[in-house]
Each structure stands twice: as structure tokens, then as C-alpha cells.
């Protein structure tokens, strides 16, 4: 009985043992599979997580490349700055430290706001370094350094601040940098790195990637409690590449001042009568100025606004591009104050606008060469074409006036350009037709975006039959052709387009494209495809504008014998003149309100024998092209040619 029982038990035990053995096998199998899954299949994922635990990567922004002019003068560089950093940990009282710091130095409100935000959004309690401000002056540093012992939690670190030594003189072309915005991140322009500056405008924006360089990374090994036990450079930073531009700072500075001055006088603020005026006016605008401009009556006037562009007609390099009024780009480097920004934006004279490339103006008489070229090319006029100018042309129900009230009498093509006879161009404009004029204008660079290395540029308008119909759904009126023939009406162009036009005429062979880069090799351009004899004739006419007895710019010669400058003036009406006003007699330009004064334009090139430089001057509401724009152009050209 006993042994039988035992035998049964043994059998049972064996069966049960086998069952348990199976369970154990399944358990071990499950564990092994789990390990296989974790360590081999999902290995990469966990490796990444482990690296993320082990290492803390700090991005080191590279030093931004400099921008230099053609003579290697510094246009944009970096200045060592001091940052104030808080060594944060759980135990310190941030508010007290900040309060004590603020009692010694002042920190701008925006930085404090950012700092508080950083403290608030801290994810864990690990000790770390938090940036308080990037804009610490030398004075602040020494003040704090003396009291260093009271602020063990605070230390300084070096940083780089963008600096523009030329200030407002080239502000529009160089642009400025600023802290990236959310849209920049969304557009994929930039990875989100605190404290990173990116180009916001001008060349800084266009060449941002090149100037920015490559980020480096520092790799810290951190424990689970956040202590750094090892630190090494993981990826080295690659500094941004320097950029050399074609601008000539000497010329640029001269042109800037010359444009601001216009026909006014430059007087020091130490002058007695000026001081008196300043105290009476209580005008803060001139408080920190060392000099002011005065008109003939010795009254303080604000400087002229407008644009000057000088371009090399052979390779298209822009030697100077001035736009006034301007702004100081350095104010953007240290975190722009919102008040200052609004002041700039709401300024009626729009200092932020780059007039050279984004300013749109009716070109006025400056396109008369193009109209003449269109006629010559089409064969509807020739060198001998004559028209009689009586001072106006009656067309339909309207009178189209010439600027010369009493007319120019019988004028040939060359004389018409020399004296800028409007009636002559009304007549030939009708013969040529708007489409041919538009075609020639486009050939010469108007009505299209140029390839210049600036993002913000205007396209301008070159109207033709289609354009009008598409825009308004109305047929083109012939009267509008008359207006277009003298560069009024719908036509709009930027100074850059005008200087391109002159360059192409002066070059005569290829369609030069403007560029801000200093080209080491010769650039290749498309052929211009205009009969060179016609070009020669037009150039001769432009020369007559300056050297001719009746030339509109005859008073402003640069003084080289047989090698003058050539050009074309333009005076653009800003407001229409009614017949009533005309009969009453026109008000003198200076007597009209500023906004209603004419724009003064001049385009030209020099020297005539072997053209090298093309220029376009626009003085907003400056008066007549011949009396305001031409002398500026002459002085700038004299400056380049060292006359």
C-alpha cells in the first residue's frame, strides 16, 4: 500500500514537475525575448536616450563674419561684450539677487522680462546657468566686479555684439541683425538657439547663412543630479565667412553728406543765430547734433531725403548706395527698445525705407533717352526728326504742357533731349506707341526685380496695353501714352533701376546687372541688342545736356576738358497741376508745402570719352532736377574721378 501510494505520488510529482518546468521555461523565454527586444531591436532608441541622459549639449554660436568694403574698411564687425549670468540652483532667492543687482547697475526691462520667463519655465531643479543680460557696459562690469563678494551667484561671460562702425551711412545696405523670431524658426531659417542673432535686413539678411557660420557644440557629461563632471568640445564652431562688398566707404560717406545737404548750408550748432533758433524751437531733434542745415534765410531746415546710387558701368558693381534719412543700425544689436522701434516706424520720412532699391518714383524726364531709343530702334523717328513746341500740346479735350511755358520752338531730337522738351516727346511718343516704349524700358532694366543681393527691392511699373487692361479692365488711353513719354503717369521706378538704365546706355553693348559684391573675375552679361549708332547718338545728346548752351544741367560741369559728364535731369510733379493754378501762375517750389514739392532727379555717367561710372540722384521733394539733383551728381562724380 505504502509503496503503491509512493509510486503514484512519484508519478504525479513527475507530471507536475514537468508542468512547472514548462512554466519556468516560458518565464525564462519571456525574459530572454524581452532582453533581445530591448538590447538588440530597440537598441538605437535606448542608446539615444542614454546619450541624452549622459550628455548635455550646449550650442556655441559661431562668430559672425565681418562685412568689408572694397578697400577692406569695416562695415559690420563684432565687438566683445559682457554678459551677466546667474548660477542658478534651488536654494537661491532670485528676486533678492536681482533686486540687489539692479540697485547697482541698470538692466533694460526686456532682458529682465526674458530672465524672469526663463526662471519661471525651468523644467527641473538642477543647477544651471541662466543669462540675465547680454548688454553689460564696461562701467557695469567694473561696478559689479568691485562688489563681487556680495554676489557669489553672479558672474560675467564674454559675448560678441554686432557693431556697425559706419553707423547710419550704409545702414540700408548692410542692414542689421536681431534675435530670431518665431516665424524665422517656422520657415526653417534657423534652429532655435537662445541668444542667436540672425540677419534681419540688407546684406546681413541676404548673406545670413554665409555670415553666420556653423554652430559648434560643447558636450557636458552630467550626473542625474545635474552636476557637470566632464566637458569637452564636441563639434568645433566654424566662424562665419567675411563678406567683401563693392561699396567704397569714402565715396559713400561723401555722397551721404552731400545728399543730406542738398543746396542748403552746413552750419555748426555753435553758431549764435543757430543756438538762438534752437532754444526758441525747443526741437529735440537737433539736440545731439553738431551741425545743422540752414536755407538761404538762415533758417534751420531738415536734411534732404532721397537716394544716390553710383554703379560701375562695366561690371555692375555698386560703389555707393545712399538713402536718406537713415537710421543707426547699432540700436538693433542690443535688443531693440520697442519705443525706439515705433519711433522709427512711425517717422513720416520713413528712415527704414531703402530708397535706392525700394523707393518708387516716377522717373520723369530721365527716361526720355529710352523713349528716343525706342523710336530710333522702331524706325519711326530718325536723328533729323523735328517738332515744333509751342509750350503745350492739345490732345483730345486736354492740354499737355511743356515745362517751358513759352515753348522751345522748333526742336530736333538732340535738342529735345538737351532741353528736355516735353512736347517733342508727346509727339514721338504717339508715333512710337506705349508697347514699344515699354519694351525698351524693360530692356534697360525698368519694371523688373534686379538680381541685386538685397531681399527687399521694388519691382516698379512699366505700363503697356495689357498691363492697363489687366489692372483696371479699361483700355489704354492715348493721353496716357503722352504722360508715359515724359516719365509721368503710371511709370514707377527705383533709383537702382534708373542707374541700371544709364549704365546700359553708357555701356551700349551689354545689359549690365547691378551687384553689391566685389567681383574678382569679369562678369558676363547678356548682349543689349540695341543699334550702337543709336546709342552713340543718345550719348551725344546726354553730353549736350551738360555741355550744350541750352542744356538743362549746363551750370554743373565737372570741369574736365573734353571729358565732361553726361546725363539727364528730371523734375517730377508730385501733384497734378490744374489749369486754374497754371493760369494764376505757379507757386515757386520752395513756397509749396514739402509734400507737394517736385522730386528732383538726375541720371548720368562720366567721363564721356571712356564712360566708367553711372549715377542716379533722387532728391525727394527737392525741386527741379537741374538745380538740385544735378549739382549733387556733379559733386559725387567729381569725388570719384578725383577732379
Amino acid at each position: 500500500m505504502k509503496s503503491k501510494n509512493k509510486k503514484l505520488l512519484d508519478q504525479k510529482i513527475s507530471r507536475r514537475f514537468l508542468f512547472l518546468f514548462l512554466i519556468k521555461g516560458i518565464a525564462i523565454g519571456a525574459i530572454s525575448w524581452r532582453l533581445f527586444d530591448l538590447q538588440l531591436i530597440e537598441n538605437q532608441k535606448y542608446k539615444k536616450l542614454s546619450d541624452g541622459n549622459q550628455f548635455d549639449y550646449l550650442i556655441i554660436p559661431p562668430e559672425r563674419g565681418r562685412i568689408l568694403d572694397r578697400q577692406n574698411r569695416l562695415l559690420a564687425g563684432n565687438m566683445d561684450g559682457f554678459s551677466l549670468v546667474l548660477k542658478w540652483n534651488k536654494k537661491i532667492n532670485v528676486d533678492v539677487i536681482l533686486k540687489n543687482t539692479l540697485s547697482i547697475i541698470s538692466i533694460n526691462k526686456k532682458d529682465i522680462k526674458n530672465f524672469n520667463l526663463q526662471i519661471k519655465t525651468m523644467k527641473n531643479n538642477y543647477p544651471k546657468e541662466v543669462l540675465i543680460t547680454k548688454n553689460l557696459s564696461q562701467k557695469d562690469v567694473s561696478r559689479l566686479a568691485v562688489r563681487r563678494i556680495n554676489f557669489p551667484e553672479i558672474f560675467f561671460s564674454m559675448s560678441k555684439n554686432r557693431i556697425y562702425p559706419q553707423g547710419n551711412i550704409v545702414a540700408h545696405i548692410i542692414g542689421y541683425t536681431g534675435i530670431f523670431s518665431k516665424t524665422d524658426v517656422k520657415n526653417g531659417n534657423v534652429i532655435s538657439v537662445p541668444g542667436l542673432d540672425i540677419g534681419k535686413r540688407g546684406l546681413e539678411k541676404y548673406f545670413d547663412l554665409q555670415l553666420r557660420g556653423m554652430f559648434g557644440r560643447k558636450r557636458n557629461e552630467v550626473t542625474s543630479k545635474g552636476y557637470i563632471i566632464d566637458s569637452q568640445i564636441h563639434e568645433t564652431t566654424i566662424s562665419g565667412k567675411d563678406l567683401q562688398v563693392s561699396l567704397d566707404m569714402r565715396l559713400q560717406a561723401f555722397a551721404f553728406q552731400r545728399l543730406e545737404q542738398g543746396n542748403y548750408n552746413l552750419i555748426s550748432t555753435d553758431d549764435k543765430s543757430i543756438k538762438k533758433q534752437l532754444t526758441i524751437q525747443k526741437n529735440n531733434k537737433y539736440l545731439d547734433k553738431k551741425y545743422v542745415y540752414t536755407n538761404k534765410k538762415n533758417r534751420i531746415v531738415s536734411s534732404e531725403s532721397g537716394s544716390i546710387i553710383v554703379m560701375d558701368i562695366d561690371n555692375g558693381e555698386i560703389l555707393c548706395s545712399v538713402s536718406t534719412p537713415s537710421f543707426n543700425p547699432n540700436i538693433f544689436s542690443n535688443g531693440l527698445d520697442i519705443e525706439e522701434w515705433n519711433k522709427l516706424r512711425n517717422n513720416k520720412k520713413s528712415p527704414l525705407l531703402n530708397r535706392s532699391m525700394s523707393g518708387l518714383y516716377s522717373p520723369g524726364s530721365t527716361i526720355k533717352m529710352a523713349v528716343a531709343l525706342a523710336g530710333l530702334e522702331a524706325g519711326v523717328i530718325d536723328y533729323k526728326t523735328n517738332h515744333f513746341c509751342s509750350g503745350k500740346k492739345e490732345f483730345g479735350n486736354n492740354d499737355f504742357h511743356c515745362w517751358a511755358k513759352n515753348g522751345h520752338g522748333n526742336v530736333s531730337l538732340m535738342q529735345a533731349i538737351e532741353q528736355s522738351c516735353d512736347v517733342f516727346f508727346y509727339e514721338i511718343g504717339l508715333k512710337i506707341g506705349i508697347d514699344r516704349i515699354a519694351e525698351m524700358l524693360k530692356k534697360l532694366g525698368l519694371g523688373q526685380y534686379s538680381n541685386i543681393e538685397i531681399n527687399d527691392k521694388a519691382k516698379g511699373v512699366v505700363p503697356n496695353l495689357d498691363w492697363k487692361f489687366k489692372r483696371d479692365g479699361i483700355k489704354w488711353q492715348l493721353g496716357e501714352t503722352l504722360n508715359a513719354s515724359i516719365g509721368q503717369g503710371f511709370i514707377l521706378s527705383t533709383p537702382l533701376q534708373l542707374v541700371t538704365m544709364v549704365s546700359r546706355i553708357a555701356n551700349g553693348k551689354v545689359s549690365v546687372e547691378p551687384s553689391l559684391l566685389l567681383k574678382k573675375t569679369n562678369r558676363k552679361f547678356d548682349l543689349l541688342n540695341i543699334n550702337y549708332d543709336h546709342i552713340k547718338f543718345i550719348k551725344k545728346s546726354m553730353e549736350q545736356v551738360v555741355v550744350g548752351k541750352k542744356g538743362t544741367a549746363r551750370n554743373y560741369k565737372i570741369g574736365l576738358k573734353n571729358n565732361e559728364m553726361a546725363g539727364k535731369t528730371g523734375t517730377v510733379q508730385v501733384v497734378g497741376i490744374s489749369d486754374l493754378e497754371r493760369e494764376k501762375g505757379l507757386l515757386k517750389n520752395e513756397d509749396r508745402p514739402w509734400k507737394k514739392r517736385d522730386h528732383a532727379l538726375f541720371v548720368g555717367y562720366a567721363p564721356v570719352k571712356k564712360p566708367k561710372y553711372a549715377i542716379c540722384v533722387v532728391v525727394e521733394h527737392g525741386g527741379s532736377g537741374s538745380s538740385v539733383a544735378a549739382p549733387i551728381a556733379r559733386d559725387v562724380l567729381k569725388n570719384i574721378l578725383n577732379v
Partner: protein, 374 residues
């Protein structure tokens, strides 16, 4: 067996001693020794390449423990058979003592002469012994009767409930599982198994309500570790990262970044397997698991060889105990099971569990040495 009555006591005692040493299962001893050394090596690594505080003490404890194991192996099973009931009662008393006079907020420890002692570990051995003794005179009891199993179930539940309410859910469940496995092994009718299974399932909501907040948390976090990545889930997430990042060959000895930088919690006790996995990779882990399986298989083989039911149950119990430890521990660290707090036998730093396992293996060796059939 009755060597005490031998006339040539002195001479034959030496003979007996030598013959017993000869009959000792040295493969098991070697296996145990190897596992203890692996423990020392990785505790050395856990301390960042230093003997203190864990590797040195583990080495000393291992040497003492193995000595104790050999000593136990030489004593006859009869001795343990007689001791079993008093051991069990002593164990229960110490559990009660811990319950009322225990150290710390979680009452698991008794401090005796500077040594901290965790009675929930040796109670497992006492349970094995007392169950073995109960079923030893199997001829007198009817295994088909439900009433036969009443007393064993009380034996199991008493320490189990004590430990669960310590509170130490992991060890308590391990004790109960161990008991159930032994009952199953000995041939409890399947209808009882199914019945109790249904009872347990229906008790789950009641038990759930009895659990402490942190125990509930652990189970919830186990079900979804990401729900609390810095709190309770932190351990298991970091453990999985460490294991996963080990790859096939591991990061190298002393080079585990997770452990070196303190991301691994409890890397010297419950999570020591994670450290080994991180530094030695999948291959190293498999070798370790294989070593444990080998040890368990050796022990289980003995359970077939021995003839008494007492010996069978003791050997099976100890083998299953080691299996439970290993499965619970590794299952826990790789996220298959909730974090219940089970050490890896022979490797984790912790005196009580190490000595318990070594004593258990000593018992197994004793059963094999004194087996008549060999």
C-alpha cells in the same frame, strides 16, 4: 546515520567527513562561487570602480555564506526535519517582532548587534522546511481530501500576509507563490487549484483597497511607466534605457554611463542586473541567465534523485525559490513586472538574501549528500 554510536568514533568521523566531502555536488558549489564572484565584480563597478562600500562586504559575506553552506551540507536531513517546526515558529515570531518594533517607516528590519536582519527572507526557507515535514509522512494522509491542504495553506498565508502588511508586497507574494508551487508540486487536486484561483481573482478588488498608496502607484506605473517619468516610473524608465543602450556587447566593464552618472536607482541591490546588462550587453545577460538556469537545473535534478518526500520538497522548494528570485528580479528590471523589490540571488548586495540563498543551497547539498540511493 547513527555515527554517534560508532565505536571508532574519531576515526570513522573523519572517514565520514571525507566521504561526505567527496559526495558533495561540487558543480553546484562552483556555480554558486562563480555567481558570488560576478556579484563582487559588478558591485565593484556599481561603486564606480571601488571596493567600498559594496564589493568588499559582499565578498566577505559570500565567503562566510559559502562556509556556512558547506557546513549545512554536511549535517544530515534528519536534523533539519526536527528543526523545521521551531524554525518556522521562530520565523513567524520575528515577523511579528518586526511588525511591532521594526526599524523605519517600512518595517522590514531587525537590528541584532549591529547587523540588520530581514526576517522575511529566511521565513521562506522555514516555510519550505515546514511544508516538507508536513508532507513527509505522506503515507498517512490522503492527498485527495481538501482538508489535507488546510494546514499547509495556513502555513503559507500566515507569513505571506505578515510580510505583505509590512508592507513588502513583492516578498509577500513570492512567499505565497513559493507555497503554492510546493502544494502544486506535491499534487494538490486541480479542482482546488481552480477554485482558489477563482477566489483570488474575486478578491483582487478587496486586496486593491487594502494596498498602500505607493503599492498602488507602483502597479499603475508598471502598467504605464510614462505616466510618471520623474516619480515612480523613473526607476523603470531609466532601467530600460540602461538595458536597451547596452546592445549586443555592452558598454564595457566599469563604463556603464547610466550607472556611473547615478541614473540607475538601487543599482547595487534590486537593479544590479540592469548594470550588468548595460555593461556586458545582451550576451553577458544571457550568460548570466544561463548560469542561473544551470544552477536551478542542477538543483532540480537532485529533486529527482533523492528518495524521501521531505528531501524532494526541500530541494524543489529551494530550486523554485531561486527561480522565483531570478524571474521576479529580471522581469522587474526589464519592465515585464511591476517594481516589487526582489533581489537577484547571490549577486545583489544584501546580507540576508545572500545568506538565505546560500543556506537553502546548503540544504539542497545536504539532501544530495545524505541520499541513500547513491
Amino acid at each position: 546515520m547513527n555515527y554517534r554510536k560508532n565505536k571508532f568514533l574519531k576515526e570513522s568521523f573523519l572517514n565520514l567527513f571525507l566521504s561526505k566531502l567527496f559526495r558533495l555536488n561540487w558543480v553546484i558549489v562552483f556555480c554558486v562561487f562563480l555567481l558570488c564572484l560576478i556579484g563582487v565584480a559588478f558591485l565593484y563597478s556599481a561603486a564606480g570602480g571601488q571596493w567600498n562600500p559594496w564589493a568588499k562586504s559582499h565578498l566577505y559575506r559570500s565567503i562566510i555564506g559559502i562556509g556556512l553552506m558547506l557546513l549545512i551540507a554536511l549535517l544530515p536531513p534528519k536534523f533539519y526535519n526536527n528543526l523545521s517546526i521551531s524554525c518556522f515558529i521562530l520565523g513567524l515570531l520575528s515577523l511579528l517582532f518586526v511588525k511591532f518594533f521594526g526599524q523605519g517607516s517600512v518595517q522590514r528590519w531587525i537590528s541584532i548587534g549591529g547587523f540588520n536582519f530581514q526576517p522575511s527572507e529566511p521565513i521562506k526557507l522555514a516555510l519550505i522546511l515546514v511544508l516538507a515535514k508536513y508532507f513527509d509522512n505522506i503515507s498517512k494522509i490522503d492527498l485527495q481530501k481538501v482538508s489535507t491542504f488546510l494546514l499547509p495553506i495556513i502555513f503559507i498565508l500566515l507569513p505571506g500576509i505578515f510580510v505583505v502588511t509590512q508592507p513588502d508586497l513583492g516578498t509577500g507574494l513570492a512567499i505565497i507563490l513559493l507555497g503554492i508551487a510546493i502544494l502544486f508540486y506535491i499534487g494538490i487536486p486541480l479542482k482546488i487549484v481552480f477554485l482558489s484561483f477563482i477566489v483570488v481573482i474575486s478578491c483582487v478588488p478587496i486586496i486593491w483597497n487594502q494596498l498602500y498608496e505607493y503599492q498602488k502607484n507602483r502597479i499603475l506605473v508598471f502598467l504605464n511607466p510614462q505616466s510618471d517619468s520623474l516619480g515612480s516610473g523613473y526607476q523603470i524608465i531609466q532601467s530600460k534605457i540602461a538595458i536597451g543602450s547596452g546592445g549586443l556587447f555592452g558598454k564595457g566593464y566599469l563604463l556603464g554611463s547610466q550607472s556611473r552618472l547615478n541614473y540607475l536607482p538601487e543599482k547595487h541591490t534590486d537593479f544590479v542586473f540592469t548594470l550588468i546588462s548595460e555593461e556586458m550587453g545582451f550576451l553577458g545577460s544571457l550568460i548570466l541567465i544561463f548560469l542561473f538556469c544551470f544552477l536551478i537545473a542542477l538543483i532540480m535534478r537532485i529533486s529527482f534523485i533523492v528518495d524521501t518526500v521531505f528531501a524532494k520538497i526541500v530541494v524543489f522548494g529551494v530550486g523554485f525559490l531561486i527561480f522565483l528570485y531570478v524571474a521576479l528580479n529580471i522581469g522587474m528590471v526589464c519592465g515585464l513586472l511591476p517594481v516589487v523589490g526582489a533581489p537577484l540571488p547571490l549577486i545583489s548586495h544584501g546580507g540576508t538574501s545572500l545568506i538565505t540563498v546560500l543556506i537553502g543551497i546548503g540544504l539542497v547539498l545536504s539532501m544530495s549528500v545524505h541520499n541513500k540511493r547513491i
